[in-house]
Every structure is written in structure tokens, then in C-alpha cells.
């Protein structure tokens, strides 16, 4: 019964009523603040490199975890992607009697586009989620506060090593992904299109120029920066305990993947423009 010690009647007259516009404005404000916080965290992760203290051992540990740890998924995926590329493009070229062009197309597509982007998305799936859940768990168990209370800047100790490690490792993973992709393409072309392995590799290598390599190795550095900073940002902004950690993990993967694909458009346009002007 209302008014008893067990159930007190709720006064609803003083509660403000929110309109749709208020809710939209509030959401917009939150989004702007999120972008601001993400930008500040990203900027700090880079500016930390200029001054001490620097955590080299933590960076090496992260390079091992992110780079070596991601190797199996990158290599396996790369091999099959290269093989599928050959099967898809080869069947079309064969209709025009130009099956030999398959090596050219697969090399360009892999080095310029598929290698960096797919590696970025694969590593985002593994590492953005890992970073977000690790930092999120540290946040909800007050380990991040404990770190601050002991005189350590979490952005230096936790963010910068992860960002630096990812930026350094992703181009290397992409290079391996490209190579294994071409290997998979070679195997597929030999067994499916009856092309010679030497012919495939010769055409693939000749099809590539310096601008392609520049494009292919610049993109993963940007993708690495995106996936690490998004993972760190989501992890360090967890709300709502362990459930929040799960939510942040999912958001980190989705946001990093979408940002990588969106960044790809602008980076491709920029790379093509610079390729025309410089090379």
C-alpha cells in the first residue's frame, strides 16, 4: 500500500517531461563530447612519445601480443582470400582468353586494397576487442584508478604502447598477408586455371609499382592507429560494470571496422592523387 514504510508513494508531479527534440539534442551533445574525448585520447597517445616516461617493455609485449598473436588468422585468411580472388577473376578473364592477366589483377587488388583492409579488419576483430575488454576490466576493478593513485599516467602506460605496437605491427602483418595471398592465388591459378607458377609470379610482381607499395603500406599504419585508439577509448570509457565491458568490446570491433572501411575511401583517393602527382 502506498505510504507504508515498505512502499512510499512516488511523486511524479516534479519529474520533467522530455520532448523528442530534447532527447535528440542530448544525444548529439553526447556524440560531440565522445568525438572530443576520442580525439584528445588519440592526440595524447602520440604526444606521449615525445616525453618520458616511455614504456618500451610494455610496447614490446604488445607487439608480441598484437603482431605475433594475430599471425595465424592473418596468414590463413590471406591464403584463402588470394585463392578466391584468382577463382573469381580468373573465370571472367578466361572467357576473354586473358587468363594470364589474373596475376596482375590479384597482385594489385591484394597489395593496394584487400591486403591492408582485410588485415585491418581481422586485427580489429581480434585486438580492438581484446584491448577494450582488458582496459574495461581494469577500469571497473579500479586498477586504472590505482595506477593513477600511484603516480602513473594511464595514457602513457596503457594507451601509447598499444597504439605504437599496432601501428608498427600492422604493416608487417599486411606484408605477410599480401605474400601469402599471392601464394594462395598462385596455387589456385596453377590448379584451376592451368597457369604456370612462374608466369603468375612474374606478372604479379611486374604489375606492381612503387605507388602501389606506398599505398599498401601506408594504409595499415592508419588502420593500426584507428583500431588501437578505438579499443583504448572504448575500454577506458566503460560504464556499467561487467555488462558494460561486454558492450564496449562489441562497440570497439564494430566502430573500428566501420572506421577502417570509411578511412579506406579517403586514403585510396589521397593515394591515387599523390600517386599521379609524385610517381
Amino acid at each position: 500500500m502506498a505510504g507504508t514504510p515498505l512502499q512510499i508513494e512516488r511523486d511524479t508531479t516534479s519529474e520533467p517531461k522530455l520532448s523528442v527534440v530534447d532527447v535528440l539534442v542530448d544525444s548529439l551533445k553526447r556524440w560531440v563530447f565522445s568525438v572530443q574525448d576520442y580525439s584528445l585520447l588519440s592526440a595524447r597517445s602520440v604526444s606521449n612519445l615525445a616525453t618520458a616516461p616511455r614504456y618500451f617493455q610494455d610496447t614490446l609485449d604488445q607487439m608480441d601480443d598484437i603482431g605475433v598473436g594475430s599471425l595465424p588468422i592473418v596468414l590463413i585468411s590471406g591464403f584463402f582470400i588470394g585463392a578466391v580472388m584468382v577463382l573469381q577473376t580468373g573465370s571472367q578473364f578466361t572467357r576473354f582468353g586473358q587468363a594470364a592477366l589474373t596475376g596482375d589483377i590479384v597482385a594489385i587488388a591484394l597489395v593496394r586494397e584487400l591486403g591492408p583492409t582485410l588485415t585491418g579488419i581481422l586485427v580489429a576483430g581480434r585486438c580492438s576487442s581484446g584491448i577494450a575488454s582488458e582496459l574495461g576490466s581494469m577500469l571497473v576493478t579500479e586498477q586504472v584508478d590505482a595506477m593513477r593513485a600511484m603516480g602513473t599516467d594511464p595514457s602513457r602506460k596503457l594507451v601509447t604502447p598499444r597504439v605504437l605496437a599496432t601501428v608498427l605491427m600492422l604493416p608487417l602483418l599486411t606484408a605477410l598477408n599480401d605474400f601469402v595471398g599471392l601464394l594462395g592465388g598462385c596455387v589456385a591459378s596453377v590448379f584451376s586455371l592451368r597457369l604456370g607458377a612462374v608466369e603468375f609470379w612474374t606478372r604479379a610482381i611486374k604489375a606492381l609499382d612503387f605507388a602501389d607499395l606506398m599505398q599498401g603500406f601506408t594504409k595499415p599504419m592508419v588502420y593500426g592507429f584507428i583500431l588501437a585508439t578505438v579499443g583504448c577509448y572504448k575500454g577506458l570509457n566503460v560504464r556499467g560494470g561487467t555488462q558494460g565491458v561486454g558492450r564496449a568490446t562489441t562497440q570497439a570491433v564494430v566502430l573500428a571496422s566501420v572506421m577502417i572501411i570509411a578511412a579506406d575511401l579517403f586514403l585510396t583517393k589521397l593515394a591515387l592523387y599523390l600517386g599521379d602527382k609524385l610517381f
Binding site: E142, D145, A146, R148, A149, T152, D153
Partner: protein, 279 residues
């Protein structure tokens, strides 16, 4: 640091001063005009129901949060206006014992306790004896190689105390150090806090919901010769005739200080709200 040194570092004024401090979040102000000061070597016990702002008070004192209004001074420095970089240096003189310990779960107990020393680039030869000394203080020297997940809740709190005292801080902030522990383990934790106070002469802020913790600190002291806790009369002094470090109580209600005084004042109160804590 000796007790004399501790006093010397803080005798210029109160160790902690809160002046009309407000702290609010989206749901409204949690702290509303909190003002108090804690002289050096005094222990201030913060009592109050859940959500009244005890933990926030400790986090404000450590500079982990900034007040919406008002000022917070610690060891003569205005914490509320300091940059994060300046705060990192000040926090080297503050120990913080978090409610659940907040130990770094990927590090061993020894590495947790040594964390602060390694951050300060103390010589490795010096670190091991100091870690052993800190772990001996909490009687957990045999756990140095274990992970925090292998310890019980009470042991984790004790390691957290060892971690907080490793660089002999001037002030130690305890956030509900006995919450959720059985009476015997709670007694062990309180004995450690007494030892830390009476051996090293630290100033302490202790947030708790257990009144008996506060009275234990007020009525007992650590006998350095006998090396155990003895009953001491605040008026007459301890076994050596010296008055024990003073203990005062502060009770929060609805984000404001409802009561501030010594144990006798609290015991003799007729206030119905305060009497509820004494039952």
C-alpha cells in the same frame, strides 16, 4: 620515513583540507558543501550510508576526481587546480587502499607491491628487500610469487596495504578496507592500519560503514616494544604514556557532513540518526 619525518613534512598546516566542496554527476550533486580539515598524524573516520559520498571524498583527496565547486588541499597543495602531471608527483606521497584491493591481476603479488618503486626507477637491488619488508609488515611474505586471483579477499586487502605503504606515504586513504570481510579478517586489517599509523605516523582518512573499525582505531594502539596491539586510553595515553594518534569521526548524510567530532562526542549523542550507527 620516520614518524618525525612524516610530521616534518606536514606540520606547516593540516594534511587535508576540504573547503565547501561540491561534486556532482548527471543525476545531481553527491557532495554538497563539504568542509573539514585533517591535521597531520590524525585519523579521520568517514561514516555514512552507501552512496553518501565517502569514496568520492577519498578520490577527491587523491586528485582522482575534481570538485565541481570548492577547493581541496592536500599536504599544502591545492589539488583541485593542479594539472594531471603535477598530481602524479603529489600522489607519490599518498597511499590509496581501494575497496576491493584493485591489485593488477596480470602481475604477481611481489610485482604489485614493487610497482611504485619500479615506476620511480628505484635500483632493482633495493626493490627486493623493500618488497619483502612491506609484505612482512602485512604477514604475507610467502605470497610474493602468487597471482592476486590465488589469494582470498582479506589477503588481497593486505597486499593492497603493503602496496600503499611501499614508499612510506605521508597520507593513506582507506576505502572501506573491511567491507565484506569476516570479523577476524577485519580485525587483522584494522590491526595493520593501527600499526601503519603508530609505526610510521601516517595521516589517514578511512571510509567505512562499520563503526567498530573507527572505535578500534580510537581505543587501541600498537605497542612497538611488545609488537602487538594494546588498549590505550586517549586521555591517559598508551603504554609509553604518549597519547595515541587522535581519531575523529565524520558522519555523512545526503552529501553533507552531519556530524564531526571525537569518539566520546559520538558515543554521547542523543541524535536519533547518529544513534542508528551506535546500535
Amino acid at each position: 620515513m620516520t614518524p618525525a619525518a612524516a610530521t616534518a613534512t606536514t606540520n606547516a598546516g593540516p594534511a587535508v583540507v576540504f573547503d565547501n566542496v561540491y561534486l556532482g554527476f548527471d543525476e545531481g550533486d553527491i557532495l554538497r558543501g563539504v568542509s573539514f580539515s585533517v591535521p597531520a598524524r590524525e585519523t579521520m573516520v568517514l561514516l555514512g550510508e552507501t552512496g553518501t559520498g565517502k569514496t568520492l571524498t577519498l578520490k577527491l583527496a587523491a586528485g582522482l576526481l575534481r570538485p565541481s565547486r570548492g577547493s581541496v588541499s592536500v599536504l599544502g597543495q591545492e589539488v583541485s587546480t593542479m594539472s594531471e602531471k603535477e598530481l602524479l608527483h603529489l600522489r607519490e606521497r599518498i597511499g590509496f587502499v581501494f575497496q576491493e584491493g584493485a591489485l593488477f591481476d596480470s602481475m604477481t603479488v611481489g610485482e604489485n607491491v614493487a610497482y611504485r618503486l619500479r615506476e620511480e626507477h628505484v635500483n632493482e637491488d633495493e626493490i627486493e628487500p623493500r618488497v619483502n619488508e612491506a609484505l612482512q609488515f602485512v604477514e604475507l611474505e610467502h605470497t610474493a610469487d602468487q597471482l592476486p586471483s590465488e589469494l582470498s579477499g582479506g589477503m588481497r586487502r593486505r597486499v593492497s596495504i603493503a602496496r600503499a605503504l611501499i614508499n612510506r606515504p605521508d597520507i593513506v586513504l582507506y576505502d572501506s578496507p573491511t567491507a565484506g570481510l569476516d570479523p577476524i579478517t577485519s580485525q587483522t586489517i584494522i590491526s595493520l592500519i593501527l600499526r601503519l599509523r603508530d609505526v610510521y605516523g601516517v595521516t589517514a582518512l578511512l571510509a567505512t560503514q562499520r563503526l567498530q573499525d573507527g572505535f578500534a582505531l580510537a581505543n587501541f594502539c600498537f605497542d612497538k616494544e611488545a609488537k602487538h596491539v594494546v588498549h590505550c586510553n586517549p586521555a591517559k595515553g598508551g603504554k609509553d604514556g604518549q597519547p595515541p594518534a587522535p581519531t575523529r569521526f565524520m558522519v555523512y548524510k545526503d552529501g553533507r557532513i552531519y556530524f564531526e567530532g571525537d569518539p566520546q562526542e559520538l558515543l554521547s549523542t542523543k541524535d536519533p540518526y547518529l544513534r542508528r550507527f551506535l546500535v
